[in-house]
């Protein structure tokens, strides 16, 4: 079931006129370039459903975290005035 394509948009009409003036090879190329625009006219962008978490920009491996944890605890214990 095909319906005749109605073009109400003058912009599209002008584009088609220009397309008609192009040579055969150029026309093919133009159609090829425009095809993705026609087939994927609707782009959906969905917002993330999880809260955005900004991690500190720090490079640390889990192994280093555990290695330094005892030192950190000792540091706090020995310098209670500033912690």
């Amino acid at each position: 079931m095909t319906r005749p394509l109605t073009l109400s948009n003058t912009w599209v009409r002008a584009g088609l006129k220009r397309l008609a003036r192009l040579g055969e090879d150029n026309r093919r190329l133009a159609v090829l370039l425009l095809l993705p625009l026609l087939t994927s006219a609707c782009v959906t962008i969905s917002a993330p459903d999880k809260p955005i978490v900004i991690n500190l920009n720090i490079n640390i491996k889990q192994e280093v975290v555990y290695r330094l944890d005892g030192d950190a605890k000792a540091l706090i214990e020995q310098n209670k005035d500033i912690f």
Binding site: P51, I52, V53, I54, N55, L56, I58, N59, I60, Q62, V64, V65, Y66, R67, L68, D69, D71, A72, K73, L75, I76, N79, D81, I82, F83
Partner: protein, 130 residues
């Protein structure tokens, strides 16, 4: 090769250690303003191991924050060198602990950057915290 590298590292560290010994008192007297501000929640703990003013502060709070952070940075630097870690890593792991240690009513910052008041439940910390 490795031994010589270690030797060089130790040589490089020597003047720094010596320098820190003569650079005035390493441990300043307890700052009563800091203790008060911490309890009042006008100064809070950051996930990176330092403190900051919660909301709008004044010049007194700014002084306290910079004084505490300066002392903390010195400690992190010394310990990081000793443990062959970066200052940032040492500060981060300490930050995990200072946030865990906050008492109910005290302020800390969660990884998304919002200030929270510590309650009876566990604080919201960086996922990399132990």
């Amino acid at each position: 090769m490795r031994a010589t590298f270690k030797g060089l590292l130790a040589l490089a560290a020597l003047p720094m250690i010596a320098g820190s010994m003569f650079a005035g008192p390493a441990f300043a007297a307890p700052n009563p303003d800091y203790a008060r501000a911490k309890a009042a929640g006008t100064i809070g703990e950051l996930p990176d191991g330092y403190v900051a003013i919660v909301g709008s502060g004044d010049s007194m709070l700014e002084r306290v924050v910079s004084d505490i952070n300066k002392q903390r940075r010195e400690l992190y630097t010394a310990t990081a060198m000793e443990k062959k870690a970066t200052v940032q890593q040492m500060a981060f792991v300490t930050g995990c602990n200072t946030i865990a240690n906050t008492k109910p009513g005290e302020k800390y910052q969660s990884p998304d950057g919002t200030w929270r008041t510590r309650d009876a439940s566990a604080p919201v910390r960086d996922t990399r915290c132990p």
